[in-house]
């Protein structure tokens, strides 16, 4: 391939990348809690830093390094501005999983001689729960707070769980499956009063709901790039400076990010995360209103057409772009198979060998048979009203088709109580 041909190819690819993420023939994307497409404006901001404006932000001896450092620091300021933090309190990571691990293990290890108890919640993301299990194996004590049917923790239980050995409370702001918003401000106030650090996994919250680390007394906050229309592979951890939170780094190396996270910063990704935060800060209010209207439209349309559907998690304390609905008597994986033209996710993990329904839904007290019938519908920046209407009609039609061949639906119609039958568990 000649050089100019190669250049033309790249130019075409860039032009495609900067289009809105909607391609003909692909399923309608309703899985915005899994990931979001990178906003074309973010891509545009990132592009020069792969090549024309490349450099190692840690190089001190030449303009490439200085320029790269300026760009990284600008990105850091944009993130800080969105959560009302000081840029010096933000460190870049590879994503929310790393941020959560660093927050939990880093703080636990640093203060282990004085305190050894962590409080978290049963509906946290797997990476928080798994990091906590790991700490338990190393001798730390972990309290897993239950949640109510609305998906929210009980603040009195939280207060009662804090003792003089508690080093940190880690509660997510927004749940990834059911979208419910925990009472972050109240949790922050309790933690501050009791002298306990407050870490919150905000992967699903940043850019969706207003966050203010001062007002909410947040000491550590995990941030993800690809959940907020930024690139994959980048995230951040907010670490409070006053009163100072200290942590043991997970990585050893060149001492970047104030010694808390060694490794060369990925310049284009840092720029992209910053740009994504800046857009979120500017557009969050209008976007939330638009999404809420579409979310309600979708939910109402489904409710009008289908009896016996149940929303999982509280509707009012919830981000605008999420619905998690149990379609009684229709198994979730079977339902998704009939919705090939929609990209949604099932609340049940039946695709794995375990056959276990979602631990989040189980924690809300959703019965196993209903947990098996749930779908998560995630709306986002590029969702249109026409897509929502189409999705509602397709889901309703498919649920009706599958109910017509469901023995459980038939029994329910005949007035047989499904719980009265002695089922053989298998």
């Amino acid at each position: 391939m000649r050089a100019n041909e190669a250049t033309a190819k790249i130019e075409n690819a860039v032009r495609d990348a900067l289009k809105s993420p909607r391609s003909d023939g692909a399923p309608i994307y309703l899985d915005y809690q899994a990931t979001t497409p990178t906003d074309p404006r973010v891509i545009e901001t990132m592009l020069p830093y792969f090549n024309a404006r490349f450099g190692n932000p840690h190089s001190r001896s030449h303009a490439y390094g200085w320029r790269a450092e300026d760009a990284v620091e600008h990105g850091r300021e944009q993130i800080a501005s969105l959560i009302k933090a000081n840029p010096k309190e933000l460190i870049f990571t590879s994503g929310a999983t790393e941020s959560n691990n660093l927050a939990l293990k880093g703080v636990a290890y640093f203060y282990k001689d004085k305190k050894n108890h962590i409080i978290t919640c049963v509906t946290e993301h797997k990476c928080v729960l798994d990091a906590c299990r790991h700490l338990e194996q190393e001798g730390f004590r972990v309290t897993y707070l239950p949640v109510g049917a609305d998906g929210l923790i009980d603040l009195e239980r939280l207060k009662a769980a804090i003792d003089d050995k508690t080093v940190m409370v880690s509660i997510m702001a927004v749940n990834n499956e059911i979208g419910v918003i925990q009472p972050i401000r109240e949790i922050g106030r309790i933690c501050r009063e009791r002298g306990v650090f407050f870490h919150t996994d905000c992967a699903q919250a940043v850019g969706k709901i207003p966050l203010d680390v001062e007002d909410m007394n947040i000491d550590l906050m995990s941030i993800s790039g690809h959940k907020i229309y930024g690139p994959m592979g980048i995230g951040a951890l907010y670490v409070r400076r006053r009163p100072r939170v200290r942590l043991v780094p997970l990585f050893n190396g060149g001492g970047q990010e104030r010694g808390m996270r060694s490794g060369t910063l990925p310049l284009p990704l840092c720029v992209g995360l910053g740009a994504a935060c800046a857009i979120a800060e500017k557009e969050m209010g209008a976007e939330a209103e638009r999404l809420k209207a579409m979310r309600d439209r979708l939910y109402n349309r489904l409710k009008q057409r289908l009896p016996e559907i149940y929303l999982n998690g509280d509707l009012d304390h919830r981000i605008p772009g999420n619905l998690n609905i149990s379609f009684a008597y229709v198994e979730g994986e079977g339902l998704m198979m009939g919705l090939k033209d929609l990209a949604v996710s099932s609340g049940s993990a039946c695709t794995s060998a375990s056959l276990e329904p979602s631990y989040v839904l189980r924690a809300l007290g959703v019965e196993e048979e209903l947990a098996h019938t749930s779908l998560r519908l995630g709306l986002g920046r590029f969702t249109t009203e026409a897509e929502v209407d189409y999705a509602a009609d397709r889901i309703a039609a498919e649920v009706e088709r599958l109910r017509a061949m469901s023995p459980l639906w038939e029994m329910a119609r005949e007035g047989i109580d499904i719980k009265s039958i002695k089922w053989a568990e298998h």
């Binding site: 695709t351 794995s352 098996h372 023995p407 038939e410």
Partner: protein
């Protein structure tokens, strides 16, 4: 997960969906699985005086593989004697539908369902003879 063409075909065009009157003496009903496990199959056979399954119906709550397994079984047992139908093995179902390992339980359930339906029919016959 990628489903085989045969699973997709049975899922999209299920054969013999429906129900017979379970109180009819010529009908055997098998209800297996559990809602809490995410799979329930109801399989019914209608047996004639010669002991041949002349019709079969099913309803299934479950994934595409479960629906396909039960749909396939209703097709296979039609026209068979009760003894022939009782020899049906889950491995034949799994092989025909190219089920992946995590979906083998769907074929096991379908085998259980036809056996339960035959058992129900025989129990009814036994009762009738006793009366």
């Amino acid at each position: 997960m990628a489903y085989s063409d045969k699973v997709i075909d049975h899922y999209e065009n299920p054969r013999n969906v429906g129900a017979f009157d379970k109180n009819d003496a010529s009908v055997g009903t098998g209800l297996v699985g559990a809602p809490a496990c995410g799979d329930v199959m109801k399989l019914q056979i209608k047996v004639n005086a010669q002991g041949i399954i002349e019709d079969a119906k099913f309803k299934t709550f479950g994934c595409g593989s479960a629906i396909a397994s039960s749909s396939l079984v209703t097709e296979w047992v039609k026209g068979k004697t009760l003894d022939e139908a009782a020899t049906l093995k889950n491995t034949q179902i799994a092989e025909h539908l190219s089920l992946p390992p995590v979906k083998i339980h769907c074929s096991v359930l379908a085998e259980d369902a036809i056996k339960a339906a035959i058992g129900d029919y025989k129990a009814k016959m036994g009762k009738e003879a006793a009366e």
